[in-house]
């Protein structure tokens, strides 16, 4: 199937980009992995689940309704695994359309060709390892948000919420509202960091008010909030039973059956890396991000990035960025048609507030420094901190070389969970800035893909086996 514009990722940026592009007259396809568009913040509940809608849900429903009315071809539940075309052609050949390989919700493979591609791939969560972080019962903060808001399930009965950023308080409030107990909130940020963030947050009074309400709710329920603290260990026999938290030089032991922990969000750049776009390391944006111009263009012609995947600014800033990207794509393709206002003033305000939160959620070197030598960093491959430091001593200079030396990041998640911590450990061991150790080369598949699903029906004789090498 051929389109003018393909949008990868159906969060707020992707929904707005697809809507704007379709309304602007382009033939548009939106590809989303989840069963419904929405993204993590505006995630739709499962079909036929009806709860009390909140502000996020209402904004999500608005974006979904606009998308549905836009005429964009929306494909949910599909797994895009192959990226090709565009700049990835043979030398000397003109760039062709972007070519995406995907599996539909029904498991049937399909291919998409698009003249322009807008990447709205969002983020994944950063969890800086600590002893016991792989124990069942320990889940991400963003994971807890999805569980609570979209699925209506508590992560546990006695919950410790730990890490950094506004999600801490959102999750704690949701657990309380859902009837669970919050044993404590262990916030890596000090009180001073929050006070310093206030002026920027004032650009978004709605968010500030919501955050204040969350904090007041915790206070009313006498939930201890431990500022400037960190998880020392998660412990239990097979599943989580208690959490050791270091706060103010003292350690407290908290009985809990769930630990929701996250230290910020990392832009998902696997697609921009695969397309070999230029990237820059910006800790305040979440780490490595594609380099963009003021209209969300990457360094690769007709390839755009918007939303948190282009630098963490939050869901509120994402739709405006998606619109800007779509308008740029419409112009770059020379498509005539409507050009709705992109709302760049709102984008500016949302970005200022988002930036303050993003700084709070940036990688904290002190947490990386605290990882004990025997603690697993890459859980797919079982690579501990000490193994990373040994590799550094043996001459591993970059993240790609570290992979070769240790298998760190070679497993099914392809370094998405461990990549940042591993890079920080490697950089610290070498005594260089983290940007200097680089990032893993992007390669397909974008997600693990079942062989059965891509093989399809075939006859042996139809496999186009190339001519053999000379004997």
């Amino acid at each position: 199937m051929s389109f003018d514009i393909a949008v990868l990722g159906g969060g707020p940026a992707g929904m707005a980009a697809a809507t704007t592009a379709a309304v602007g007259g382009a033939r548009v396809v939106l590809l989303e992995e989840s069963p419904a568009p929405g993204g993590q913040v505006h995630r739709a509940p499962p079909p036929d689940f009806v709860g009390k809608p909140d502000a996020d849900r209402r904004e999500g429903d608005r974006l979904r309704a606009a998308l549905a009315a836009s005429g964009a071809d929306v494909r949910t539940g599909c797994r895009v695994w192959g990226l090709g075309g565009g700049p990835l052609g043979p030398a000397g050949e003109a760039a062709g359309p972007f070519a995406l390989s995907a599996l539909g919700a029904d498991g049937v493979p399909f291919a998409v060709l698009a003249r322009a591609l807008i990447l709205c791939c969002g983020t994944h969560e950063r969890v800086i390892p600590f002893p016991g972080w792989t124990l069942p019962g320990v889940i991400g903060l963003a994971a807890a948000t999805i569980l609570l808001k979209a699925q209506g399930v508590l992560p546990g009965r006695r919950v410790v919420v730990a890490g950094a950023g506004p999600l801490l308080y959102a999750v704690a409030a949701k657990v309380l509202a859902g009837g669970g107990e919050v044993v404590a909130v262990a916030d890596a940020a000090s009180r001073g960091e929050w006070i310093a963030a206030l002026p920027a947050l004032a650009a978004r009074p709605d968010l500030l008010a919501r955050g204040t309400a969350w904090r007041a709710g915790l206070l009313a329920r006498r939930v201890p909030v431990l500022q400037g603290s960190q998880v020392a260990a998660a412990e239990g026999d097979g599943v989580l039973a208690r959490v050791r938290v270091l706060a103010g030089g003292a350690e407290c032991i908290l009985e809990a059956d769930a630990l929701c922990v996250g230290h910020g969000l990392v832009p998902a750049t696997e697609a921009t890396r695969t397309y070999r776009a230029r990237h820059a390391h910006r800790p305040e944006d979440g780490g490595w991000v594609p380099v963009l111009d003021d209209r969300q263009r990457t360094s690769v012609p007709l390839l755009y990035a918007a939303g948190d995947g282009a630098g963490v600014r939050g869901a509120a800033a994402a739709p405006a960025a998606g619109r800007v990207a779509a308008l740029a794509a419409l112009d770059d393709l020379g498509l005539p048609g409507e050009r709705p206002a992109s709302g760049t003033a709102a984008l500016g305000r949302a970005r200022r507030a988002g930036a303050a939160m993003a700084r709070m959620m940036a990688l904290r070197p002190s947490l990386v420094a605290a990882i004990p030598p025997e603690t697993i960093v890459c859980r797919c491959e079982g690579v501990a901190r000490a193994a990373i430091e040994d590799a550094a001593a043996d001459g591993a200079a970059t993240v790609n070389q570290l992979k070769h030396f240790t298998r760190c990041g070679m497993g099914p998640c392809q370094g998405r969970m461990c990549g940042e911590a591993a890079a920080a450990i490697l950089a610290a061991a070498r005594g260089v800035p983290v940007a200097e150790v680089g990032f893993a080369t992007g390669r397909i598949p974008l997600r693990p893909v079942p062989m059965e699903a891509i093989l399809g029906e075939f006859d042996y004789g139809d496999i186009p086996v190339p001519a053999p090498a000379p004997i």
Binding site: A99, S101, R276, D394, M451, I454, P464
Partner: protein, 370 residues
């Protein structure tokens, strides 16, 4: 100030590393330079195959000796280990045409010294229970195996340092003057001898010393699955050589065979070709049906060099005294360490244990006229 070396080896892949190591052990002061990290190109990203059944007949005697070197690597490489594993190898034919090709190729390789016997499908399944039904004929070679190629750089590094090699990674060489002073990012490096070991980039390097040596670049694709329960225990290929399949101790299955992706010297490996990705995994799943259960987690590309006659370029560079070249060895990883040792013998003024592959045959006299 310029450092002085007895020999500068440019290119820290498996051949450059082995050459540098044995030169240093032979008493030379050696600098080993690479524009990137050690064994980060083809030597670190290939399929780690130690098979005789994809090796060119002329290289079998070399590959057999290299096989032994890989399996004993910790002993001669200061403990450096690529987890080399010995196991039987099978090359299978599903059609009559493939069976004929297999028989012919096995005969030639056998004559060159590879102990390949022909067996039927049932016997092949006894050796490899994971093998599909429908195999008409199989070449069985008891000498086969594989390494974890990504470990190659880490395996060579301590031995090189212990032998006194000056290892200069991330040090691109911009050019070489007639007295073998290398213009590098780290300053000038002077050497009495020069070894070019640049893999797919040998053509550019040969130009430094005024030689036009056409090198074709193959862009080999590889695919790996996530860990799965044991589904196979041999190295498997097909008669055409377009499949190489093995399962590692950690459960991952590596699928290769030289299907071509997109890439070039300037950009490296750029992209997998989807149709070749599909062809390769279909061939794999046809050969080991249990692979249908697997999930693919990663694909990648490695650049392999090939001369006009697809035979190695190993020997002195004609007309340039004390300059040598090594590379373009078909299935070069398999034979690599032995080739490096041979060239080191020659550079040290010894008679190599087996003949080199001088490049005079590859040079167009007119374009290389002095």
């Amino acid at each position: 100030m310029t450092a002085r070396f007895d020999c500068a080896v440019v290119g820290a892949g498996v051949m450059g590393c082995a050459t540098a190591l044995f030169l240093a052990r032979g008493g030379m002061r050696v600098a080993l330079l690479d524009r990137g990290g050690i064994c980060r190109e083809a030597s670190g990203v290939n399929a780690g195959t130690l098979t005789m059944q994809m090796t060119r007949a002329a290289l079998i005697p070399y590959a057999l000796r290299a096989h032994e070197m890989w399996l004993t690597m910790p002993q001669w490489c200061a403990g450096g280990d690529v987890l080399a594993t010995a196991c039987p190898g099978l090359s299978v034919a599903f059609t009559d045409g493939e069976a004929a090709m297999l028989e012919e190729r096995a005969r030639i390789r056998r004559a060159a010294g590879a102990p390949i016997e022909m067996i039927d499908g049932r016997a092949a399944q006894a050796i490899e229970p994971g093998l599909a039904d429908g195999v008409k004929l199989a070449g069985h070679c008891p000498i086969d195996g594989f390494t974890s190629a990504y470990l190659t750089g880490r395996a060579f590094r301590p031995a090189l340092l212990e032998a006194g090699v000056t290892l200069l990674e991330d040090t691109p060489v911009r050019g070489v003057d007639e007295r073998f002073t290398l213009d590098t990012a780290a300053g000038a490096i002077a050497a009495r001898r020069l070894v070019l070991a640049g893999g797919a980039w040998l053509e550019d390097m040969a130009a430094w010393v005024g030689i036009r040596l056409p090198i074709k670049v193959l862009v080999n694709q590889l695919v790996v699955t996530e860990r799965m329960a044991p589904v196979m225990r041999t190295v498997l290929g097909v008669a055409s050589g377009l499949l190489s399949l093995k399962q590692y101790a950690n459960g991952t299955v590596l699928i290769g065979g030289g299907w071509q992706g997109i890439g070039d010297r300037a950009r490296g490996g750029v992209s997998v070709r989807p149709e070749n990705f599909l062809g390769n995994v279909r061939l794999a799943a046809h050969t080991v049906p249990a692979l249908r259960e697997a999930r693919v987690v990663r694909s990648w590309l490695g650049l392999e060099a090939e001369t006009a006659d697809a035979l190695p370029a190993i020997g002195p560079i004609p007309g340039v005294e004390d300059a040598w070249i090594i590379g373009s060895v078909h299935s070069g990883y398999t034979s690599g360490p032995y080739m490096g040792r041979l060239l080191a013998q020659a550079v040290l003024g010894q008679e190599p244990d087996l003949p080199l592959f001088p490049i005079d045959r590859l040079l167009n006299e007119r374009s290389n006229a002095a």
